[in-house]
């Protein structure tokens, strides 16, 4: 990897939800919703995140926007290419250094003394979203927005559409008074809503219309990056297509960058430039749309893609049906997490976790046999 510049990048991101129990609410384990994943998104592209329910897609999306705090790792935003290159070098050096002893209950990590490590620390402080203070982060939120899956619970039922869409403008002091109303009208028109419906409440709209309100709200601050968390899975199929096409148009027009989360492979194929396949909190395969759909390498991806319906009754193909259920993320299988359901399982799979390796042209796969 050269000194290419990414809009947003997650490095060794982990998110554990502690499991507590008993009288004293003692922590006895954790759900490893996201377990050490790294990926990047370039300016203007759409990255798809696909996987079964419970694999950590939504958590990843929320963590990217700091809507829930990370357990470990960093998320870098708008880091210049040369700085990134330097950081990768320094990180390699850091890994070669002896690991400092883990302190208990010390929240503040002291500044490192080694000059290189100090530089690394400073880079991280400067570009990592999760290390920003609340006020800076709040201001940065103008540039990154989210559209939620359920258009019924994501709009405040006690607010008028005008206020739902206009509130961010007011809070960030972008516009005032009548200007806000004008902008809201414009946005409503842009997402295909009747601007006369300004003074209505969310419950007076249908599901598709509510999702359009959600999109208009996300667009109001002219963001750069939008997380689309299954934006169409709660909608009728006919409405899904409308919303997806609208999102595509908006992207072309405004140069938006999307993280598109979905469990529906056909939608991912329609929307995305690159795809990450997740299984139990890990990325198992990552590559361009063509890589993943036409030449899937990981057995999990192969299985997923083999069951996409194809509108051709003549076509005969092998369908791989996965046996069994997804194991619990609180107690994931040893070694390769997919080995309990894998057709090609060997002994090594139970022992060693395969790393995510480049198999050519940026097509990454985590499997011992590919």
């Amino acid at each position: 990897m050269s000194d290419e510049e990414f809009l947003i990048e997650a490095r060794s991101m982990k998110k554990y939800f502690p499991l507590r129990g008993g009288l004293l609410k003692k922590e006895f384990g954790a759900v490893r919703a996201v377990d050490d994943i790294s990926f990047f998104i370039r300016q203007g592209e759409t990255l798809g995140l696909v996987g079964e329910s419970g694999c950590g897609k939504t958590t990843t999306g929320r963590c990217m926007l700091m809507l829930s705090p990370l357990t470990e790792g960093d998320i870098y935003y708008k880091m210049p290419g040369d700085v990134r290159k330097r950081m990768v070098e320094l990180e390699e050096k850091e890994a070669s250094l002896p690991q400092p002893k883990k302190r208990k209950k010390s929240k503040k990590v002291p500044k490192p003394e080694d000059p290189d490590m100090l530089e690394l620390w400073e880079i991280r402080q400067k570009y990592a979203l999760n290390r920003k203070d609340p006020e800076t982060l709040r201001r940065l939120r103008r540039e990154m927005q989210i559209v939620f899956q359920d258009p019924f619970s994501s709009l405040n039922p006690r607010m008028l559409v005008k206020d739902i869409i206009g509130e961010p403008l007011k809070v960030h002091g972008v516009l005032e008074g009548d200007q806000i109303t004008e902008r809201v009208k414009l946005l409503m028109e842009r997402v295909g809503l009747n601007p006369d419906h300004l003074y209505r409440y969310p419950h007076e709209f249908s599901g598709g219309q509510r999702q359009r309100i959600g999109v208009a709200r996300a667009l109001s601050l002219n963001p750069n990056f939008i997380v689309l968390d299954e934006p169409t899975s709660a909608l009728d199929v006919s409405v899904q297509a409308q919303i997806l096409n609208m999102l595509n148009d908006l992207q072309n027009e405004l140069g938006l960058t999307y993280l598109f989360i979905s469990h529906d492979l056909s939608t991912i194929r329609h929307m995305c430039d690159r795809v990450n396949v997740m299984y139990l909190g890990k990325i198992v395969e990552s590559g361009t749309k063509e890589h993943v759909f036409e030449n899937p390498l990981h057995p999990y991806t192969t299985a997923l893609i083999s069951v996409i319906p194809v509108p051709d009754p003549e076509l005969k193909r092998e369908r791989v049906v996965l046996a069994g259920d997804v194991p619990s993320p609180a107690n994931p299988p040893s070694g390769c997490r997919f080995h309990t359901r894998c057709r090609f399982r060997q002994e090594i799979c139970e022992i060693e976790d395969p790393p995510l390796e480049d198999k050519g042209n940026g097509h990454l796969v985590a499997c011992h046999f590919r």
Partner: protein, 345 residues
């Protein structure tokens, strides 16, 4: 316009409710003793007097006919004579209702302010030490018997510290029923707080509030506990919803997120409970009123029950039924105002 027709419809509904309640109580009262006892003031009337009463009030007729005459009286403003209060039931109600209403209002206010704020706090600081303390105190609040708490507070604040009055509504020097009072309160509405303000005498107003404080705090304890728990759980529910996350993603400060987006929505279920708790306080401040010697509805109704004061019991029951129905009506209207999804129909 929709609101007016809604209110009218609901008020019309009051008629069958009141008929049902009164019929039930009227029939049941028939089993508690001779009906004529409700109309005498002496314990041992002469036989002739009894006959005269039975004749006058149609007590020889069937219960249906008796009920008809009683209802006729109710409609025409004759609610009978309360021998306990030694005045007509209507006078007794207008005399005692203000006492209880002031008490219930103040104690509800205390409960709403404290209950909602600590309920919210407890939800925000979920599973932190503050939350545990609040929940523990709330549990104690529901479990403490009010008579014990009232006596304890009296002992501490009146007897030991002298910070509170022993009871009653007003100090002797302002008491309108005290012929030796220096500046007696001029009674117009019988709401002493209102009357003192009408007089323009802030000293008396303060004195009235000072008398209300201790009983109101006592009475508010259980309601505080109830509201805290409701507020906490409904706040927790709302805080998990996506629109609160949306609000954070918009870049609102945490304060605005919690106040404007979470708390406003969490208040909706709490409102219902406040309305019904208030109606409950109006009807049931029996123990508090007795301990703090407040001559309100609670004290009157228990005394009436114990002395088979039938007119008073019937009148009191009707009043409570009206209050509960009205409280429900107000809650429903508030609901429609608070939650745009609710339509009045």
């Amino acid at each position: 316009m929709r609101l007016t027709s809604f209110i009218i419809k609901r008020l019309l509904l009051l008629i069958p409710v009141l008929l049902g309640v009164s019929l039930l109580v009227f029939v049941l009262m028939g089993f508690t003793g001779e009906r004529w006892t409700a109309y005498t003031t002496t314990d041992h009337p002469k036989q002739a007097q009894i006959w005269a009463i039975e004749e006058k009030y149609h007590l020889n007729e069937s219960i249906a006919v008796q009920y008809y005459y009683w209802l006729d009286g109710i409609v025409h403003g004759d609610w009978g004579y309360s021998k306990q209060a030694r005045m007509p039931v209507t006078d007794a109600i207008s005399n005692k209702f203000p006492v209880t209403f002031e008490l219930a209002l103040i104690s509800s206010l205390i409960a709403v302010i404290i209950g909602i704020s600590i309920g919210t706090l407890s939800a925000i600081k979920r599973n932190k030490p503050v939350d545990h303390v609040v929940r523990f105190v709330a549990l104690i609040g529901v479990s403490l018997p009010i008579f014990w708490l009232a006596l304890l507070l009296l002992q501490a604040l009146y007897l030991n510290l002298g910070l509170a009055p022993s009871g009653g509504r007003i100090s002797l020097e302002f008491d309108p029923s005290n012929p030796l009072a220096t500046t007696p309160l001029i009674v117009r509405t019988n709401f002493y707080t209102v009357d003192s303000l009408l007089m323009g005498n802030l000293q008396i107003f303060g004195d009235v509030l000072w008398h209300l404080m201790l009983p109101a705090i006592c009475l508010s304890f259980a309601t505080i506990a109830l509201l805290t728990r409701i507020m906490r759980s409904s706040m927790l529910e709302v805080m998990n919803l996506d629109y609160v996350k949306t609000a954070r993603a918009k870049g609102l400060s945490e304060k605005v997120v919690l106040k404007k987006h979470a708390r406003r929505n969490a208040l909706i279920p709490t409102t219902t409970v406040v309305g019904l708790a208030f109606a409950g306080l109006l009807g049931g401040a029996v123990i508090t009123e007795n301990i703090f010697s407040l001559n309100g509805l609670g004290k009157w109704s228990t005394a009436a029950l114990l002395s088979n004061d039938q007119a008073a019991i019937l009148g009191f029951t009707m009043l409570i039924a009206i209050i509960v129905v009205l409280a429900n009506l107000i809650v429903d209207i508030m609901y429609a105002y608070l939650d745009p999804r609710v339509r009045l129909e």
